[in-house]
């Protein structure tokens, strides 16, 4: 069943290849319909999900047994929320893309392919399958930027591809390292998790974690390997940016959590302070640079670095904790997963808004905008809601996540947590100050006739807004699912003497 969920968008995409490109309506509705079905499917998975730390909905097919490579997918409490978030963000992107006309057929098909690869990363239980989906998602995203991007799309697309491919290669080295160190000579994630092949492996283990870490850090991205992100976001089409920020970035943090922390616990603990400091720098640097941006889209791009920084900081702190603070560690890990979900929904929405703004004005520059709340009040209102959600106002998903991360981190490493709180402050300033430049103040006459949100834009915004408000107000159903799985990771990291 899980494989149907995984490959449905891909197969649908293949079928769509057969339809001639002139039927615009078919493609538009096919995208919305299929991704909508995926959301329902994900909700259905919630219904059948039993709260426990184990893997559920597993599907296993032998592939290359000689090399220990098998097709194995499944869900646990960490992947289920991420998969659901992926389905929702894709649905919102498809609804948003209702107005898309340029090369619609390829556009819809590529996004459907991309959906399968994104789901695949979170569902994979075999490192090679994981790597395969990871790399394919890069390639599809590369084409999306290249074909539908803005003016400097070629440069941004190639930069994105090459930069993140370097990360992929490093990740591959790490994966092969894990394989070679494992007794069973297997790429199976569950087996590796159970075996902990890097235990007592000294220098080799550290190098493997380094290789994995570089791969994940580039994807997340953390300071100082984040510089591919702003140009990619600025040049990508809005729906592409929403997917890139909302989902692709999560692969990095998901990898840190599942593979870095889970499969190299000893090394993670040893180098936890490095990871934590990188997270801390990302938080402050991302927030400050976001404040100094001149364009809306670059602003959102840099806030992502800040938001992902909280996760890296928290996971670093988990490694620094003694065995006595098990509850705080679980709290942080749960918070990190919540943060991934929150960031996917909120930032996905903010990127869709940048697209709506660009369609109306042809620019992202604050300098040319201003006072737009006069002509597009509903748009301004929604953007304001997303912005306050993004800087962590209570009642929205980010607060739930950041509260857990901070409560845990301050408990383990007080100074780091307190310094990181400055990031929460600055990021609020970045949003308030810069959004006021778009919507408040004097307005240029040329925007006088700007139209407010169209119905399909409204639907996409409402879908995401309601999602992150529900998580923000009543998160217990989500936390309950995540918690056993984070407890399992806490146990792994605490078994090290």
């Amino acid at each position: 069943m899980i494989s149907i969920f995984l490959f449905l968008p891909f197969i649908a995409g293949l079928f769509l290849c057969l339809i001639p490109p002139k039927h615009l309506g078919v493609f538009r509705w096919a995208g919305i319909f299929i991704s909508g079905f995926q959301v329902l499917f994900a909700l259905f998975l919630w219904v059948g999900f039993r709260i426990s730390s184990g893997i559920q909905y597993e599907h296993f097919v032998k592939w290359v047994p000689a090399l220990g490579i098998n097709y194995r997918v499944g869900l646990d409490g960490i992947s289920l929320p991420l998969v659901t978030m992926t389905a929702i963000v894709f649905l919102a992107s498809f609804i948003y893309s209702y107005g898309q006309e340029k090369r619609l057929k390829e556009y819809i098909i590529l996004f459907l392919f991309l959906e399968t690869t994104c789901l695949g990363v979170f569902l994979a239980l075999d490192l090679i399958i994981f790597y395969l989906f990871w790399d394919l998602s890069l390639i599809f995203m590369f084409f999306i930027i290249l074909l539908w991007g803005h003016k400097n799309r070629r440069r941004a697309a190639f930069k994105f591809l090459i930069y993140t491919f370097v990360g992929s290669l490093s990740l591959l080295i790490g994966i092969i390292g894990l394989y070679l160190m494992s007794e069973a000579r297997s790429f199976d994630m569950l087996e590796i998790l159970a075996e902990n092949p890097l235990a007592g492996s000294g220098q080799t283990g550290s190098l493997i974690l380094l290789a994995l870490g570089i791969g994940f850090a580039i994807k997340t991205p953390t300071f100082p390997v984040h510089t591919w992100l702003p140009p990619a976001h600025v040049e990508a089409p809005a729906a592409g940016s929403a997917i890139l920020a909302g989902i692709l970035l999560k692969m990095g943090t998901y990898g840190f959590l599942r593979i870095g922390m889970g499969m190299a616990p000893e090394q993670w603990r040893e180098y936890a302070w490095v990871i934590m400091v990188i997270g801390l720098i990302s938080i402050l640097y991302g927030a400050l640079v976001a404040l100094g941006q001149r364009s809306f889209k670059a602003l959102i791009a840099y806030t992502s670095i800040n938001h992902m920084g909280y996760i890296v900081l928290g996971l670093g702190a988990v490694g620094l904790a003694g065995n006595a603070s098990e509850e705080l560690q679980t709290l942080i890990i749960t918070g990190s997963v919540t943060q991934m979900v929150a960031h996917g929904l909120v930032t996905g929405m903010l990127f869709l808004f940048t697209g709506m703004l660009y369609q109306r004005t042809g620019t992202y520059e604050f300098k040319r905008l201003g006072g737009l709340a006069r002509v597009v009040p509903v748009f301004a209102g929604f953007t304001a809601v997303a912005a306050v959600a993004s800087f962590g106002l209570p009642g929205f998903a980010h607060f739930v996540a950041e509260l857990q991360i901070f409560a845990g981190t301050i408990g383990i490493v007080p100074w780091a947590g307190i310094i990181a709180l400055l990031g929460v402050l600055i990021i609020a300033g970045a949003f308030v100050y810069n959004l006021q430049r778009i919507f408040f103040g004097a307005m240029d006459e040329e925007w006088r006739l700007m139209a407010d949100l169209k119905p399909y834009e409204l639907v996409a915004s409402l879908l995401l807004t309601l999602s992150f408000i529900i998580v923000g107000i009543y998160p217990n159903w989500l936390i309950k699912v995540i918690q056993p799985a984070s407890k399992a990771i806490t146990d792994i990291i605490n078994t090290i003497p």
Binding site: V289, L291, G292, A407, L425, G441, P475, K480
Partner: protein, 626 residues
């Protein structure tokens, strides 16, 4: 049924959301006022009903974090006060606002009220943090209400950032408390021992000092209530006074654990009370006087907490809410009828609204009542609560408080005399006109002020004290009370003399050099510091942004380009190199081939000679090695 208390903040927040959505859709002009008043009255009724049976409920928000709400005497007092003040404030907002802005401003005011209601029924620090963050958003939007002007909007943003800075202190306290105690419950936190309590207390104190606009953070109040602020923005000041020292009263059990916290609070409060009273003395606009005065008065509240007298602090909060609310309403009342809150305008003989036939309107009388209460004139509530606060003060702090009280009566007197002698003819009470709701709000608040005098009756003050948790302070003696009353009277008389001497603005204070007056007028330069700080952070952030693009990104790119260049180079050199090597080898082989032909002479004896030579070499080789 216990969950009914949750509707107290829930109703206003839902109404606020409805109004804000309506505002985005350009609707709700007619709905705004009746809906808000209706919701307020229900909330008021509910909070009175809830006060009958104190209770605490804990709701699991998500594992392991729960939200706890608590209704006790303190909570009920705060809630009733907040509702009454807001009702009064809404009347002025109704009169002073153009219809277009109504839904939005009423929406944010209800949001502010809801946050205040939530804050007052908090049983845990987390709920307090949540309500404060919501409050900050409402204040941001109200103080930058006229967003069409980017300067006003930026002002609102600065206010918001200062408030959020204050929230961070509470955030730290919340996080530390949870990691140490495993709960946000104040009583549970107060049970802890060890070093962490200092961090928690520091967070709380920082938060309270910032939120209460104590020095050096007083400027946000001035910014929120500046001349350009919209009328609804000025009302935040009136509403916010209730939430001032509340955090400290609530978390007193924690503060007691850190020895340094209370003296620090007492001195911060005392100094703020004194210095901000001086600032209020020299302002030229009613709103700025009231803003500085609010900071100063909150100083008294913080001082009361620092002196360990909770009942006095709460009494001060309530009394101050009433008279300061009335003064704010008076300010907007004057603004509605004369178009200005500048003192020079009110004092001027030559304005278009001057009228020979001068009648003392009821608005003026009510305004005077509030001014007298602020001054501390016996037997008004302002006098009683000041007495209670100062009862516990030791020498130096007592003198500081006395001075602050004296200066307060000076600026209250100044306000009173200017308005009293103003030539502007304010209309008398007319129920029929639509524009006169403010008067009703003012009446409501003056009843509150007069009711406060009941605290003089021992039975009332004793039952008041049973409502407030925390330590009680002794009541001041009769001499002390008379002394404070005398000081207030003296202040009013002196200010009258000053008023007669220098009727017109600009106002200078005798005996104080003009340089100091200017500094005080400019809020001690706090505004400049704030602007400078904001500018510095912005320019730093631009530098960081440039660094990111021009240094970090370029470096990464140059590494990539280096790889590309190396590849190209190696492609070129390498190709030449390998080709050269291949060529060289071929050349050598062909040479060797030619050389190999040399011995092949075809002559037999030559071959024999060669064979012998090789054999000899072979034998030598063998011998050499064996």
């Amino acid at each position: 049924m216990s969950f009914i208390i949750l509707t107290i903040p829930l109703l206003p927040i839902i109404a606020a959301i409805i109004l804000l959505i309506a505002a985005l859709l350009q609707r709700g002009k007619k709905l705004a006022f009746p809906l808000s008043i209706g919701v307020l009255i229900i909330s008021l009724g509910l909070s009175i009903y809830a006060s009958l049976n104190p209770l605490q409920i804990d709701l699991l928000w998500f594992e392991p974090i729960s939200l706890s709400f608590k209704i006790d005497g303190l909570a009920s007092i705060m809630q009733v006060t907040a509702c009454l003040i807001t009702i009064a404030v809404l009347t002025a907002a109704h009169d002073g606002l153009s219809k277009q802005n109504r839904a939005r401003s009423f929406g944010f005011m209800l949001m502010l009220l809801a946050a205040a209601l939530l804050a007052s029924m908090t049983g845990s620090l987390l709920v307090l943090l949540i309500s404060w963050e919501i409050m900050a958003i409402a204040i941001w939007q109200l103080s930058g209400f006229l967003w069409q002007n980017s300067q006003v909007a930026n002002n609102g943003a600065k206010v918001f950032m200062l408030l959020r800075l204050g929230d961070m202190g509470l955030y730290v306290a919340v996080a530390v408390a949870f990691s140490v105690v495993g709960s946000f419950d104040i009583a549970a936190i107060a049970q802890t021992s060890g070093q962490d309590i200092h961090l928690i207390t520091a967070g709380l104190v920082f938060s309270a000092v910032t939120k209460s606009a104590q020095l050096p953070f007083s400027i946000w109040l001035g910014r929120a209530l500046n001349e350009k602020a919209h009328i609804s923005g000025t009302l935040t000041g009136a509403l916010l006074v209730v939430s001032g020292g509340y955090l400290l009263v609530r978390s007193f059990e924690i503060l007691e654990l850190a020895a340094w916290a209370l003296p620090l609070l007492a001195w911060t409060g005392g100094l703020t009370a004194f210095i901000m009273a001086l600032v209020a003395l020299v302002q030229k606009d009613i709103r700025q006087i009231l803003a500085a005065s609010s900071a100063s008065q909150k100083g008294f509240i913080i001082m009361a907490v620092g002196l360990g007298s909770m009942s006095a602090a709460v009494a001060f909060i309530v009394a101050h809410a009433a008279y300061k609310g009335l003064l704010f309403l008076g300010g907007s009342y004057f603004q509605i009828y004369s178009g200005s809150t500048q003192l020079s305008y009110l004092a001027s003989d030559e304005n278009e609204l001057s009228n020979k036939k001068k009648t003392k309107s009821i608005g003026l009388i009510l305004f005077s009542l509030a001014a007298f209460s602020l001054a501390g004139l016996p037997p008004l509530s302002g006098w009683i609560v000041k007495d209670d606060v100062l009862a516990e003060a030791t020498q130096a702090l007592y003198i500081l408080g006395m001075l602050a009280g004296f200066i307060t009566s000076l600026y209250a007197g100044r306000l009173f005399w200017i308005v009293y002698h103003s030539k502007i003819n304010f209309p008398t009470l007319k129920i029929s006109t639509n524009k006169n709701l403010t008067i009703w709000g003012m009446l409501l608040l003056s009843v509150m002020i007069l009711a406060g005098s009941a605290l003089l009756v021992p039975v009332v003050s004793e039952s008041w004290e049973t409502l407030i948790p925390g330590p009680k302070a002794p009541h001041p003696g009769i001499w002390q009370m008379s002394f404070i009353g005398l000081i207030a009277v003296a202040g009013l008389i002196i200010s009258r003399k000053w008023h007669q001497q220098r009727q017109l603005e600009p106002f200078t204070v005798p005996y104080i050099p003009s340089a100091i007056t200017t500094m005080l007028y400019n809020w001690l330069g706090m505004g400049k510091v704030l602007n400078g700080l904001v500018a510095a952070i912005l320019s730093a952030s631009r530098k960081f942004a440039n660094f990111d693009v021009y240094v970090l990104d370029k470096t990464t790119e140059s590494i990539a380009m280096f790889c590309v260049r190396t590849a190209n180079k190696s492609a070129k050199d390498g190709e030449n190199g390998i080709e050269g090597l291949v060529n060289g080898v071929t050349h050598l082989i062909s040479k060797a081939g030619s050389a190999a032909r040399i011995p092949q002479t075809g002559l037999l004896h030559n071959y024999y000679a060669q064979a012998v030579t090789v054999l000899c070499l072979f034998i030598i080789f063998i011998l050499w090695f064996t």
